[in-house]
Assembly symmetry: C2
């Protein structure tokens, strides 16, 4: 596979299908680009009419070329795209880039043609980028197949959108002094999927950080993506922006690249599992990538906020704290040592404001930051000021602005701790901005953006320390349970409650304190055995939502109540669902504790996904659930439970006893394994599970088979 | 008062105290600025030694001037500031600007000197800006007393920080083509408070929108600020950024301007009450002000997202939805009419992507947006693209880029609906960016920022429609209640529960279903009268936290339980608090319903503030409470309750009965009035109040007097 990707990013020969001698046409433009801008492979312009491009000969077809071709650029009309692809595939071209739009993103016929095109290409041993895409850039190969200037550097950028590419190149060039090793705008993602590019970029020595913009993963490729991303993130930082998060945005993604944008929360869960650093705004993608590329990671949460300008100090401090940093006071020694360097009226401490001390000693930037970073707990510095923009010709303390900034960058190098700077002049063309960036201090003109970038360095450190591996688990075609067969025999998709419990118990999820009772007598005797209070629920293959039919009675405290409940349930169900067969009732102990909802959903991208969170009446208000893409380890599931907003409820809030989280995690882990292995299941809910200090008690459950 | 502000922003004469003939000194700089840059009033440089500044005579003192002086600039050393202020005050100067730092922000002696300075100034009929401040700019008076270039325009800017001022001037000039009518950097706010500047700016015809950056309101000035802001917002939009929101930021604000930054949530409540538009990031302050100044308001929530570039479309749509907009499909007619203008493969609908149609018809920007805004429900348009940056010399559809953008601005004017644009080239020096901005379409290079600005136009419309007036209410010195006197007699600050209930009932807050019982006999008979189950609580002047002493028994279902509870309580309390006098017990009906917590806190800036929200075990996890600065109308309190995250619980979530919110609001309103009028109260809690379909039931309460 990487052989195909190599043919795309490092081709030895490129054929331009649809080459043209007419300036202004893409087929002219790309041929000239390849011929004139340093690409060191062979270039074969193909045009059925032959002829030449400013003297360089065109070929009528690939047979006329008669040589091995790594990469074909299709700059052809939609109507001939399929034939062109087929020709190249039959000739043995390794890879093709199809710019042309009008396929899956149009739906209907376009989708079908796209499928056919990929099939034909793959049968001939060719892989495709696009269609409906921006193309490829590869700095080390001097290959620019996107038709716009891209600054070179070491960011590998995988983008579903061309315009997002343009935005980042523009900002990299115009404001941020950074650049790209490779770029692919992959558009409809018909053949090569995101995770394949990711695998190539992970091993690419030219690429030091990977940035991804994606609108949708290909159906069914979610787990492959997670695994590839996890492997990549072990080698270099990966930052990702997911487009199409909103309802209307999802709709739009379909029309843009034919993507199924999918469930927002699942994407976030997947990115977390994969060890990716996720940004939520386009403006953050490049700055975060640049910062991850140029700075050491941030250890701990304690930050120094250091610079000049009281208003800056406060806005930067607010932003840093919003992004989860502590700004603790320095030790007395460091506090005083910094204080001695500053004007007497300057605010001291952490944060501190030089209040213009640099006017008399420009080297104070490096001197104070060095002292701040000498504190062992301080993981990095947020430096703020009007860097180089106030009295730009100032020389004091023996240095000019540029030297002072160079000295500041040395502090980061000496200490191995990151520095990111806020300057209101960050986008101005000042020498000291360029110096800072070239020597490892990114500088931005937004207090929040600087904080976001520092937080990414902290995330990166945390990922390095805590990244979990996707457990190896076999995805089976399901086990044959007699309960499933029973349902199948009665032509139903739902199991009854006793059948569900039986299946759960076969998968080591114990359901305690319940009995299936075929008649009133059994109900009476089982209730007495279980001990009051009990709950009674009708058992009928035709009834899924039992309480809608008056089939549930709770809080039964004695035998009279049990008898009455039985009669009431039979009467209700017969009245409301006269056709339903009634097998009997489940009698169960009333459980107490924190109400948890758990289940497994099936997702187009990610397959079976475990969901768990706070249940009961608060579920809609707090929406406090999280997702684990399966397979998931106990450790991962535990971290999701511990990350719930309502976790304090389980953890002994307000002096209550700690709930048995181990028991809950155990059930969820088994539930996840069961659902991952058993592909016959369409829906599975354990709702509620009551968790208290003694254990976790499954108190209702539902399975729908496919 | 406005006479003083007029002396600051529109002085007829300015004295420079500390003028200097030495270039480089502030006293030189400001004098030259006044003399050479168009200020049309009198300028009196003051220097005890006399002499001249490049031939312009200096005065030894104000007596030598011998004329009326409106404004004094103090560019003097900290040590002589007090004397200089005293001199000017005694001479009858109306106002002074004190740049010098080293006063309240240093704490201790600095704070004392600052107080004294203000007192002396005020006694002489002079008001002060600063100290520790950036100074004043006033475009129409050609008065620039900040020492840096400020672009002229119609934003009135009140900033506690000079550096925040510099940031906005820089961005206005360098990127956003906008400017300022007036500016004041007010620093320590020792004398003139924010709300006084606000009153002046509200009536200033040169100012079309007011921007505020504040780190802290002066103690006790909260309500004045709310009233001034509310009056201002009725005349023009006001946007505010509060610095010092974080813990470390609050600490920093103290060291920067000596501000007590105060409670974050109360500031947000105050800004909302005042009808201000609050931004949370520095980067938003200027763009939001500019948008409010240049665009009509946004009616409703339905937005058109229209432009070119699929990736832009998706990121802009995501951002817009995150800021609360709907992006609904257009009517079929409009959908088709827009579709006919676009390339066949272009994504249609709302949002839509021209996909480069403009290459063949540049006027498509105006044509499609006009169609989109013709939909009656659509309140405005979010236009996106690489405006003017792609093929900048393009002419098609009979227009060039600049004309196309001019035509787009006309669509906003014709329809009276706002358009704000995202362009990746928004900060480039393109003619069409300038045209857009000059003609009423702000343009920014961040999808989120454009959405934020559109949301501000929606907020402004909502404020115009819903702004509540601060009710007139008399703040008394408290009513003399015998219960307060009783507490005072026993030298205690807390009232007993029966005393609290008695006070509440005198203020029309009915507490139902309780009885004060002096002994066991009374407890038995009252419990029977009330009806079971009941709760029993000890009554003792020395015991505030009753349950800590075993003084509370709940769920008493019969007389035996009442008797046992009485004995247990007596035993517990005697064991744990042997010194406590026991007056008896309260026996009360057990109430059921949603648990609400309510109380009144006393704040340094805002005085008494009503707090209400979800009570019980979720209070710490959900932190779902809101604040009403007092006095507050029933309408305001109701809107706070309806705005709670957990409001669905009160409003019949999951098929439960709707709770009686009227009854709750009635209690809260009376509680607020009581607390506002009665300044003897230090703390007041009603916790819990149970609210169900029948009413709102105060089930415990506490009053601590001052």
């Amino acid at each position: 596979m990487s052989e195909f990707l190599k043919a795309i990013f490092e081709p030895k020969s490129v054929a331009v299908i649809g080459a043209s001698s007419v300036p202004g046409k893409s087929g002219y433009f790309f041929t000239k680009e390849l011929l004139n801008n340093g690409f060191n492979g062979k270039v074969y312009p193909i045009n059925p009419k032959g002829g030449d491009i400013d003297g360089y000969p065109m070929y009528r077809n690939l047979d006329e070329v008669g040589k091995k071709v790594d990469l074909a650029l299709f700059v052809v009309n939609k109507n001939v795209a399929l034939q062109s692809v087929a020709d190249c595939a039959s000739y043995g071209v390794r890879a093709g880039i199809l710019y042309t739009a009008g396929f899956a993103e149009m739906g209907g016929e376009g989708r079908e043609i796209q499928k056919k095109m990929v099939r034909i290409a793959n049968e001939g041993g060719m892989r495709l980028v696009g269609p409906n895409c921006m193309g490829v850039f590869s700095a080390s190969s001097r290959l620019n197949l996107v038709g716009m200037e891209i600054p070179s550097g070491n960011i590998g950028f995988v983008s579903q959108s061309g315009n997002v590419g343009i935005t980042l190149w523009h900002d990299a060039m115009r404001f941020y002094d950074t650049g790209f090793s490779r770029f692919v705008g992959f558009g409809n993602q018909a053949d090569i999927a995101v995770h394949e590019y990711l695998e190539y970029f992970a091993d690419d020595p030219e690429t030091k950080v990977i940035a991804i913009y994606v609108e949708g993963l290909r159906a069914g490729s979610g787990l492959d993506f997670i695994k590839a991303a996890q492997a990549a993130t072990k080698k270099k930082p990966v930052v990702i922006l997911k487009g199409g998060r909103s309802n209307a945005g999802r709709r739009a993604a379909g029309s843009h690249t034919g993507s199924l944008a999918g469930n927002d929360a699942l994407y976030s869960a997947a990115f977390k599992k994969a060890g990716l650093i996720e940004v939520k705004n386009l403006d953050e993608l490049l700055p975060v990538a640049q910062t991850l590329m140029n700075c050491p990671t941030f250890k701990g949460r304690d930050l120094a906020v250091a610079g000049s300008g009281g208003g800056h100090m406060i806005n930067c401090t607010d932003a840093a704290e919003r992004y989860g940093f502590n700004i603790p006071p320095f030790s007395e020694k460091t506090h005083n040592a910094i204080g001695e360097l500053l004007y007497d009226f300057a605010p001291k401490g952490n944060p501190f404001d030089q209040a213009g001390t640099f006017i008399d000693n420009l080297d104070v930037w490096a001197q104070t930051t060095r002292l701040a970073l000498s504190e062992p707990n301080i993981g990095g510095a947020y430096v703020f000021g009007d860097l180089g923009g106030y009295m730009p010709d100032l020389v004091s303390g023996g240095v000019n602005w540029n030297e002072a900034m160079h000295n500041l960058t040395q502090v980061s190098k000496e200490t191995g701790k990151p520095i990111v700077a806020y300057s209101l002049c960050a986008r101005d063309d000042y020498a000291c901005n360029h110096t800072l960036r070239a020597e490892g201090i990114p500088v931005f003109d937004s207090p929040a953006l600087v904080a976001r970038c520092l937080a990414a360095l902290r995330e990166r450190e945390e990922i390095n320390n805590t990244l979990l591996t996707v457990p190896e688990a076999e995805k089976g075609s399901g086990y044959s349970y007699p309960e499933f067969e029973k349902a199948s025999k009665r032509k139903a998709k739902n199991l009854t409650e006793p059948e569900v419990y039986s299946v759960l118990e076969k998968n080591c999820m114990q359901v305690r304190g319940w009995a299936f009772c075929r008649n009133k007598k059994e109900a009476e005797s089982e209730a007495t055995k279980l001990g009051y209070p009990v709950v009674m629920k009708v058992v009928s293959p035709q009834i899924i939502h039992k309480s809608d039919f008056g089939g549930v009675k709770t809080g039964l405290t004695n035998m009279e109540a049990v008898v009455k409940a039985y009669d009431d349930i039979m009467e209700n169900v017969k009245a409301k669902a006269p056709e339903a067969e009634i097998d009997g009732v489940v009698v169960a102990k009333m459980n107490k504790g924190i109400e948890i909802i758990a289940g497994v959903i099936s997702d187009k991208q990610f397959g079976p996904v475990l969901m768990a969170g706070l249940g009961g009446i608060f579920v809609e208000i707090m929406k406090d659930v999280d997702f684990s893409i399966l397979p998931a380890s106990q450790e991962e599931i535990r971290s999701k439970i511990e990350g719930l907003k309502s976790f304090p409820l389980l953890n002994g809030a307000r002096g209550s006893k700690k709930a048995n989280v181990d028991a809950l995690v155990d059930i969820l882990f088994k539930l996840g394994n069961f659902a991952y292995k058993n592909t016959d299941i369409a829906e599975l809910d354990l709702n509620p599970i009551f968790v208290n200090d003694e254990g976790a008690f499954i108190s209702d459950a539902r399975i729908i088979v496919k």
